[in-house]
Subunit: 320 residues, 6 copies
């Protein structure tokens, strides 16, 4: 049975479906009866939920947050829709269709990953080839790579976003590298493939997009570099030595790919390859962010709301 | 007869060639005799010149700066090479091979301009097509467009640099536009073609690269916009009305293509097309600047000197 | 009959007057009945409106936003005043006293414009005189010039504000120019007269102060320059050539009059005249903004609320 | 006998005049003979001096820096003019015409001071009147006030510059205050009169313009405030109590008159009067700085050299 | 009887206690009856209060803000607790236990002040010793010094916070000065003792922490310097002259102790002692701010909310 | 035989000693004879060297740069001392007393390292104890740790500077940690011990202080983190697992210890321990930098030259 999305519920409907419960609070009415207030959430939004005949035991059993099965009814209260809950029970994350709760790329991740492998397969420098191969061979990591979002808020913020962003950047690189023959293609391609690989450890996305503790303390920029060094160490243990100068030049691309100190890059780009990865990253992220903001704009106006990260409103009207 | 370049002169040679004279000064020796000190310049550098039997009439006749024919001899003085001048006469700029004095793109400008026309020819939107066509039909302006440098100092700073930069940007756009189907290709292509057209009025390059008064007071960003509005006015007078909203959307790309207020953009990018032109411009300029700096580095070190505009040294060593 | 202002309505009054309707929404009650929620607005504020017996046809007929005639009654609901609407009908903007809806300068615009003309009449330089004259002769534009607000939010944000601001700046200039004999008075006076003329195209003020699309894409700084160049072109067509260097020097004043890149000036002031226009503009705007904020402060405190644009609170207490 | 200015000396002249000696060094030639190298300075520039038959006693007797009487001869050495010194003797500063060594305002300081007193005499508020009067009555301080330069480098950097700058600002205020009736004139006039009074303690100008230790540690902004509080204390001891709130409002004008934190103002303007003093100060300083730079430009170009404090070159050409 | 704190009140309790009333407003119900809405506040939070049978006389008698005795009852209204007031009467601040309303250091102020005196007693330089002694002898000021908060919001924002902060900084200085023998200990100790003494005049803390007018106009940085100069003047009048250079060097420490212009320091540190006071101040303030934020965090998350002043969230989890 | 320092050589001395040769150039005189110009350097400065009877073979044999034995004579040429070289031969770095060429801490490195070990020995947390122990046990690395300079230019820029700086910071931490009981001492001590350990790989100091390629591409901040992760990996291989959360919390201290993005920290401090390490680092570095600049000032003035990194001059006069 299809999930009933939060933004499709009308007043007066019976509800019998799974939602994420968030921020439940136990309160007492003026008469002293206990009730639980909470939010019910899926990927289309959230509603207030009220369970009037509640006990402390029920409250304590609730995940904070987590998946729950709700039985009850929708009603309008002071012009806002809310759900009156008769029954609530915990649901195992494994039984849930995660796509109902987290946005997902609308492209084919399998096909995108095949194309990534094909482009990475062009790398000829033996050190970079070995390194990229070691990553491709780590199937557990590659599965994460295909599912991690591109970010929590700004761009490619959906399941598969990291892959989609990396895939698109590789395509841009393949298209323009012939125009810049002095730029070392192998470094650019490896740099793009691995530039955000640390996001697989920085971001968590089981119920919502958020940062891991480790991700917030260290950041994906440095985490990507650590992962590259670990793979190089593994290769060394197997007898394949990655030249230190190659590792440093690649590492420099990773560390400098945000382009400015204030965006968390501890080094500024100092090679043509680092500049190219930085620009392709910024271009792909900004175009994704801008076109998504324009697509999602609902108002009739020719302008979106103010976008703080861009310090402007966006103009939504197309020519002709 | 081939020009004898300044950086090829050895001590003790006879000199009989054309150079640019700069900053001539009339002085008297301790004994009271008059002499003229000056710099002799071509595109490879400059040397001190001394004319010992000078008169105030000769001094007054000299252009400041300008082309002169020199007869004399080179010598070492305190370990520096200088030219002792016996004869000096003014030369008309028309008789001079300007390429000896100003750096020039090493690409074929005719072929590049053909390719620019071909790419611009793809534009389908009738307003933008008419506008671009009006520029292409202005042969005097197009000749300037093919010769103007891309800048005075930072990137593409040679004759033909504006064309080379515009041509390269158009090629990048053609390569990546298919990857971003929401981005309006006609706006991007017209925006790139005209983004720096104001440099034809901002920069002068008869003997050296410098700014015109008008260029320095108004700047090429706004000058480009003025030129677009003038061409639209000409078209209107001929009966072809360019839709105001098309003109404004294109104008916005021009005004915002430096991307940040502090780089002289009076508006920040507010459309996907404006972001794309800004990024392609920055990418092409920076890669040109970085690869030129690396190519021109003479020292054996793995690093160039500090580059102030980039806030870093550049790493010159290639992998493998 | 005098308009009943929103901030004068008491609970329990009958309402029969014109207001601006904004953001109407069609909703259904728990019982399934349709009603329309909306804001009712004039220049003193806004109230919630509710029309309980509504139909989709009524909803669709409403302007979004626009003028409407309301019949109904005020009531307190949860301590907030709201209007219960029995009847609603569209009103033509032409029948409305716009002054009830938009704030207006309390100075005499006719007299101010006469004084502007008198001061501009002092200009002696023939190029600048011709240019200013061409603007003064454009009666349609001059009518806009007398009505446009000085801005949407920060200063002189009322009908006639642009004229009041320009008029005040001209008076300041006339008062201090004798103290700075090296400064070219004609340039300063023309620069002030035209420095914000682009706001006539940047701002719309039919029902509320807002930006036009064209204004937001191009900005009044560059629009002012474009208008000056258009008038110069018109003059040229009539046989009066404005010297290019005069046009550039005046244009430079326009482009640099915000004084800093981050305030949208693509050029920094590079002449004494540009500095003077920038300072007089900033002085008049800031004094207007500060004294208005102090006048409008209602609390008993000696300080206004935090003013973000000034990065401070303002001290409201006068000495003695 | 008129002073022979450094920029008027020709090769081969006999020299018998007073200069400032700076940075003398005792050295020995290859043969072991001692000589003294030094700079000889007046307000038009400096030259190298060499005294070949020198002793350690002569060296030790020299002021570092100070006034000396020089007898000797000018000569050209490697195309640079230098002075060969036969005799050198110390000169008392009292016997020197200081105007030969320090630039001085070309306006009449007596007349300017009379006008300052007249304008300050308009102040009606009894607290501010008493305070200003106490300063005017301090003849020693007022003499310093009439001689102190306006600054070391940027603007009004000549003897009498502080008075000239204050005088001009008062005239501007008198001219524009009638246009801003809400602004409290007495606060503006007192604020201008005393805004830089601390420069009398911050700057020293006996031989060259420089900072006192105290001036460099505390700064004229805070020093001005300290001096106002000291005068208020003196008045209090005489029985005239200056209202604390008047003192704080005036003090706030002083502390905020640089307008921005980064220019050393510990407070941002928070009253209309503080804004007005800040703007008049900035306007008068910048116009002085710009017109002086344009006047002093010697080259034939239409542009001065780059002015770092203004982040631009200045355009020197006048219209018509 | 112990004060009933706002955060301990349950629904349905009788209330008979003292609170601060804030922002009272007189309103009328739909039936036309008058009532007063207000906030009731103590140091643990605030609640809505409603007095239904109100008169304009009662409203006018209320302090805005001030202490009042409330008799009434708590109730839940739309899930929020509010107090229904039957009786309200003004209470004299002298009868109130101020500690119920303002947070207070949990350290012993008497003991801390003794230790401050002991450490200050180590100062040997006679000028600084005399100056510090003059402050210690001002018992009225010292009592304020022991009670003033360290700030309104960021750190040590409780009664006694200034003393606690100064005391802690002195202890840090005593601990590390032996490690830096070149740093002049007497200057550091005097500098720390007096660095924030102006806060006694800048902050008011009778009912809540706020700024005085004088404090907001002048700021504690400059106020501290004024107070030091006043004490030096008092000493001079008694025959003890404080060397000007000592006063300036100490004054410089005070003026520069915020370390950067944008934090309100009109001078940047220019002595080792000024750097040391700046660093110890910043360290003690930030550690206090960070540990307080972590202690006060109530959520189960490993991270606090975003802290704007620190531009980060804080990680609350301890190791092991 | 003691080294003859460059700043002790007088004109006319015989020279027979070891220096570093830098930037040798082969040139020919006017007569066509070859000679070599070069700089001769030790830790006290540099002089010009000229070898007149030179051959291309000699030129090619010279290190660029490297140690050479020079035989020749000093002479004055145009008032500058230079060395006329008769004989030049390469010297092995192993035979050289490196202290003659590189500045060195004047503290006892052996004793400082013992104290570092003692303080690190206090760490009780088993994860941090194991990690620190693994570093201490790496004798090759610890020897580098004792010799590496603290930096190339700003502070502790001498052999042993890294150890001296780390040692001093640990002493400061031990002195103040008891005053901040909430701060986790083990994290602070481990964080300080390892905060700059990456400088052992970032800096080279065989002949002069400079950056390695790897150091310049990656930077010591991230290098320190990589080294910590490598040691943790080594421990894991030996069966000692370092808790990931401990590793991340320590890593965060390393990454954030520059305190601001613009100083190359990719993360801002988010724990009390990170703030403490940042402040102790900054305090020790700045006090070292300031006292060194004051000690090295040679002029009689009370102020040093302008210090760009501090944005001020420094006041050199001590009180009393």
């Amino acid at each position: 049975m299809a999930h009933k999305f939060v933004n499709q519920i009308e007043p007066g409907e019976g509800i019998d479906d799974v939602y994420i419960v968030r921020d439940p609070i136990l309160r007492s009415t003026t008469r002293g009866d206990l009730y639980i207030a909470m939010f019910l959430v899926d990927r289309t939004g959230q509603l207030n939920g009220r369970m009037w005949q509640a006990t402390e035991a029920i409250y304590k059993s609730l995940p904070k947050p987590g998946f729950v099965h709700i039985q009850g009814r929708s009603e309008l209260y002071q012009n806002n829709l809310q759900i009156i809950i008769n029954n609530i029970s915990i649901v195992d994350a494994g039984e849930v269709c995660i796509g109902d709760f987290l946005a997902r790329t609308d492209k084919d991740t399998g096909q995108m990953f095949e194309e990534v492998k094909k482009i990475v397969g062009r790398i000829k420098n033996p050190h970079l080839k070995a390194l990229a191969g070691e990553f491709l061979a780590d199937t557990e990591l590659m599965e994460k790579f295909c599912n991690t979002p591109g970010g929590v808020k700004l761009h490619h913020n959906y399941i598969g976003g990291l892959l989609e962003h990396t895939h698109n950047m590789l395509q841009v690189a393949v298209a323009i590298l012939p125009l810049y023959p002095n730029v070392q293609a192998d470094l650019v391609l490896t740099g793009i493939f691995l530039h955000d690989i640390g996001k697989t450890e920085e971001l968590s996305y089981d119920m919502a997009f958020s940062y891991t503790d480790s991700g917030q303390l260290i950041g994906h920029v440095v985490k990507s570099l650590l992962m590259i060094n670990q793979k190089a160490e593994v290769l060394r243990a197997k007898g394949t030595k990655i030249e230190q100068s190659v590792l440093d030049t690649l590492g420099h691309i990773i560390l400098s790919h945000h382009g400015e100190y204030e965006f968390g890059s501890p080094k500024l780009p100092a090679t043509a390859e680092a500049f190219m990865v930085y620009f392709i990253d910024d271009l792909d992220a900004k175009i994704n962010q801008v076109t998504a903001a324009i697509d999602n704009e609902l108002s009739d106006s020719n302008w979106t709301a103010w976008k703080n990260a861009l310090q402007t409103k966006l103009y939504t009207k197309r020519i002709e």
